[in-house]
């Protein structure tokens, strides 16, 4: 029984945040004058066509997870989002226990909206909290009132979401160690089962990237960012959240199954503008712009922009790169002697967990996770 996870991309935001390089568009950028609900209806129609196409293409039968990301998926009408879930359910075998996640902006939800989302089938919600500190949020161009996160997560629980997660970002310009500690403590006081905490990545082509290049924004040094990671890891674990992927912690059993599918190299279909898919060692991705996407679908064409077929060596490289990020780590037996040899050095510097090593696994310690890319470079062939 082969499986196919679904990622649904909603490429719209009310405004663009300075650090964000995701494939998303604001009404101003798209020159949309009509009500967003019109856009919602027509974009969802396109997604349904792509899901049909996925059905024709894929041999999979079961869909274990669906993840709605963006952009801001909650900008779409809940009923429209429900149409997508129903479409997948009618064409594939959608498990009763399937994990169906939506990303949400804590500012743009009401209890009613959350109830409607729950109603159409979502059972996991991930809020972009980012920080509990106003000046940090401002530096990220996020304007929500930190209080709203408390309300939003509480409502989510009340309307029946079993799994509630928050995303945090640390390492912004001007964020002190104390600021970060406050964010971590605030998050841990929320009724949540999952936390993702990301060190801010300054991407080329973003407003932040340009500001850093021009010297207008000074990024904190990596040592401080590393200290923030260690602080968060310690506090999360003390609060009963287990580390399971480099930037992810959860209560036992509340790991995000959809994301684990990415890291395990499972098959998934990304539907929507610019979305990426992976089927049996083949990666392909759609045209980026919603208008281009609409045109392709409208002409009954494959919205795919490009594809690559991975060589056995590339598949192996991806396995190493992804699995080493997980708490389950890599199987030592799968490594050659040449690959294992540099790892011995990292074991002596305590970047690898000694007990796991003795049990035949390569598992990163907390300091090792912070230099995971360096370690991967050592063992890539």
């Amino acid at each position: 029984m082969s499986t196919l996870a679904f990622y649904i991309h909603i490429p719209y935001c009310v405004r663009r945040c300075g650090y964000c390089d995701f494939n998303t568009y604001t009404p101003a950028e798209l020159a949309i004058s009509a009500d967003l609900s019109v856009t919602s209806r027509s974009y969802i129609d396109l997604l349904l066509r792509e899901i049909e196409f996925a059905r024709e293409t894929s041999t999979a039968t079961t869909v274990p997870t669906i993840f709605f990301g963006g952009g801001t998926p909650t900008l779409m009408e809940s009923q429209d989002l429900g149409r997508v879930i129903r479409a997948i359910g009618s064409r594939f075998d959608l498990d009763d226990r399937a994990e169906i996640t939506i990303e949400a902006n804590p500012d743009s939800v009401t209890k009613g909206k959350l109830a409607a989302l729950r109603e159409v089938g979502f059972n996991r919600i991930s809020f972009g909290m980012q920080s509990a500190v106003t000046h940090v949020l401002a530096s990220l161009d996020r304007t929500h009132n930190p209080e709203n996160v408390v309300k939003a997560t509480t409502w989510a629980r009340e309307v029946g979401f079993q799994e509630v997660s928050v995303d945090l970002i640390y390492g912004t310009s001007g964020e002190s160690m104390k600021d970060w500690e406050r964010t971590v403590d605030t998050a841990l006081a929320l009724p949540i089962s999952h936390i993702s905490a990301y060190a801010l990545i300054v991407e080329n082509g973003t407003k932040l990237g340009a500001q850093v290049k021009r010297g207008e924004v000074i990024m904190p040094d990596d040592d401080q960012t590393a200290d923030k990671y260690l602080l968060a890891d310690e506090k999360f674990i003390a609060a009963g959240f287990n580390w399971y992927e480099l930037s992810n912690w959860s209560k036992p059993g509340s790991e995000c199954r959809h994301n684990i599918a990415y890291w395990n190299g499972d098959n998934w279909w990304g539907a929507g503008a610019g979305a990426h898919s992976h089927i049996d060692g083949r990666r392909f991705w759609n045209v980026k712009h919603p208008a281009a996407y609409a045109q392709k679908i409208g002409e009954n064409k494959n919205p795919m922009h490009e594809q690559e077929t991975l060589t056995a060596e590339e598949i192996r490289a991806e396995e190493i790169m992804l699995q080493i990020r997980l708490s389950t780590g890599l199987d030592r037996a799968s490594l050659s002697q040449i690959q294992e040899q540099p790892l011995v050095g990292y074991l002596t510097t305590h970047h690898l967990q000694a007990d796991a090593w003795a049990n035949g696994r390569v598992v990163l310690s907390n300091s090792g996770r912070l230099i995971a890319d360096r370690i991967v470079r050592e063992i890539l062939l």
Partner: protein, 626 residues
């Protein structure tokens, strides 16, 4: 018209010595020697106007670009004197203009009876010119003082005529005034060369003796040897023999340069020209050696022959280890044309395989490196240059050390280092500055003389090692470029010297070891450890960097362990991009050299071995290219 058509001029091999004048031009870089030579080629009409190009005689790109002459040549110029309306043959022998090539200069001078002392009358005489002038005087050459560039607005002919007159003991009005650029005074100069410089004297019937004053490798012809016949006659029929080595050669071709090669039947007494013997390596046809004929050999060689002795050593390593065979080939090729270049393979733990090379001096080193890089398209790292040390160990063993890695461990009785006598010429306002610099560099003042009211000659003895280490750059920058330097080796002296090693994580990095004076060891240690701390990227463990004399640490720095090297997010769309990024970075890792467990980027070696002056020079060069 004083010029004579070539075909009607006295022919090589049958020119009466009384009609011959052999001269050279002594001048500093930039004082206009090449421009004056161009002008002479034009006025004597050996080069047609349409074929003329700037610096006609400087054949190598490097010569033309740097405006300096490395290899001398001889040009045969027919000339009808305006004073007596007689026909003459003027042989202009070009001389190298740099301190590194003093020996070659001395051989060129030995081929002449007279010298044109050419001085830029906006700048005055420079130290190297003065040194060459003294050499010419020792060779009993007739000196014709000439002030060049009289067309310049900044020209001060009166002032510098006084200076020249005082130096050579003539009257200021005896100095000719010319402009190589406009041609003013050049005809008069040619006439004065005929009038003042004596004709060569030799015995046409004696066994042949010809002085080799230059030897150049030509890809098509093999070695072209430039000679001045002193006695007897050289002809194509002869078998010739080198007196110093006794080696016999067939004579394939004899000719003169005018200024393109012209084959002749032979060369007679006093004549200057070239011979080609099919020899493939200039070391078989050495500057200063005497050529004689095999059938009727001369017994006594001409005086003054010396083996060139390298004074400065440095390791040359290809940046890409795979280029080692190419470097060997390039050095072999270069040596065909450079008898002074010596090298032997060297292996460095840090830099891989390369060559330990010996040079006449710093300019020679720079030129060799530049030619290797340019002509063979190599990218090289050179280790800091050092001199030759004589080390006596505790048990009385005497070692010659040309490489810090050969420096013995354990007890050392004494270390001797080469000492030079340095002459600095500069405006008097810089006396204090120059003395400070020489004092810092362990100099001993020998004396000081005023050349004119505001120009002085300062003489010092200095360890050569101090000159090798950016002395010239310092001198130039501290005197705003006005000072000039010349030096000659005068022997060895004991010095309080130590070897400083640089250790990365307790591993010695051989490329960074240096032999320095005890008082400068600390400064070298802190400089290198500081530089390396900036240049070596952080790694997963702390890296101590130490400078040590033997077992004693004199400076330390440390590179903290890297804390963060990971991208926080890796979801569906990120995977492909991230894999490609890591693979690319992995490629970058291959350019790292391992020192023990420490990865050192190639660039760090290059940068650590580069002095600030090198960086300034590189910047200046880059600017020129813009």
């Amino acid at each position: 018209m004083p010029a004579i058509p070539l075909s009607k001029a006295p022919q090589p091999s049958e020119t009466n010595p009384a009609q011959i004048r052999n001269f050279c031009i002594i001048a500093h870089i930039d004082h206009g020697k090449s421009t004056l030579a161009d002008r002479m080629l034009g006025i004597t009409e050996v080069v047609e106007l349409r074929n003329m190009r700037a610096q006609y005689l400087d054949r190598m790109d490097i010569e033309r670009e740097r405006g300096i002459t490395i290899k001398s040549q001889a040009v045969r110029l027919p000339w009808r004197s305006g004073l007596d309306n007689q026909e003459y043959i003027l042989n202009m022998i070009d001389t190298p203009g740099h301190v590194d090539f003093t020996y070659e200069v001395s051989r060129s001078l030995a081929a002449c009876e007279g010298a044109v002392l050419l001085v830029d009358c906006a700048q005055g005489i420079e130290a190297q010119t003065l040194a060459n002038l003294y050499l010419a005087m020792e060779n009993n050459l007739t000196i014709i003082p000439v002030l060049n560039k009289i067309d310049l607005p900044a020209a001060q002919p009166e002032k510098f005529a006084e200076e020249l007159a005082r130096l050579i003991g003539c009257e200021p009005e005896d100095c000719l005034r010319v402009s190589g650029k406009t041609g003013v005074g050049v005809t008069e100069l040619l006439d004065q060369i005929v009038k003042q410089i004596p004709a060569p004297v030799g015995d046409a019937n004696a066994p042949t003796r010809a002085l080799i004053f230059d030897s150049v490798y030509d890809t098509y012809r093999g070695v072209v040897t430039y000679v001045r016949v002193v006695d007897g006659h050289l002809s194509t029929r002869d078998q010739i023999q080198m007196i110093s080595t006794g080696v016999r050669h067939e004579m394939l071709e004899v000719g003169v340069i005018s200024p393109e090669p012209v084959v002749s039947k032979g060369l007679g007494v006093g004549e200057v020209g070239y011979v080609i013997t099919g020899v493939k390596d200039v070391r078989q046809s050495r500057v200063g050696d005497t050529i004689t004929t095999y059938n009727n050999p001369a017994k006594v060689a001409l005086a003054g022959y010396k083996d060139p002795r390298p004074m400065v050593f440095s390791g040359l390593f290809p940046i890409d280890g795979a280029d080692f065979p190419m470097l060997r080939e390039a050095l072999d090729k270069l040596q065909l044309n450079d008898a002074a270049l010596v090298y032997e393979p060297e292996s460095s733990a840090a830099l891989g395989f390369g060559f330990r090379c010996g040079f006449l001096g710093l300019l020679h080193m720079e030129i060799v490196r530049e030619r290797l890089e340019r002509e063979s398209n190599l990218t090289l790292i050179s280790t800091a240059p050092n001199v030759v040390y004589t080390v006596t160990t505790g048990d009385g063993t005497v070692l010659t050390v040309t490489n810090p890695s050969e420096y013995p461990e354990g007890k050392i009785e004494k270390v001797e280092e080469p000492i030079v006598r340095a002459t600095v010429l500069a405006p008097a306002e810089f006396i204090g500055t120059i003395m400070d610099l020489c004092q810092e560099r362990r100099g001993t003042l020998l004396g000081m003389d005023y050349l004119s009211e505001d120009r002085v000659e300062i003489r010092y003895t200095l360890p050569l090692a101090e000159i090798v280490f950016d002395f010239f750059d310092q001198l130039k920058s501290r005197t705003r470029g006005y000072a000039s330097l010349d030096y000659e080796p005068i022997g060895e002296a004991e010095g309080d010297l130590v070897k400083v090693d640089i250790l990365l994580q307790s591993e010695k990095v051989d490329a960074f070891s240096a032999i320095v004076h005890k008082d400068k060891a600390y400064a070298y240690g802190t400089m290198m450890t500081g530089k390396l701390r900036e240049l070596i990227p952080r790694q997963q463990f702390e890296i101590p960097i130490q400078a040590a004399i033997g077992g004693r640490i004199i400076a330390r720095e440390s590179i903290r362990a890297i804390r963060k090297d990971v991208l926080a997010k890796c979801y569906g769309g990120d995977i492909s991009r991230k894999r490609k990024l890591l693979e690319k970075q992995k490629e970058g890792k291959k350019r790292m050299k391992m020192v023990g467990r420490v990865e050192v980027p190639q660039e760090a070696f290059v940068a650590a071995l580069t002095t600030d002056a090198d960086i300034d020079k590189a910047k200046a060069k880059a600017k020129e290219r813009e």
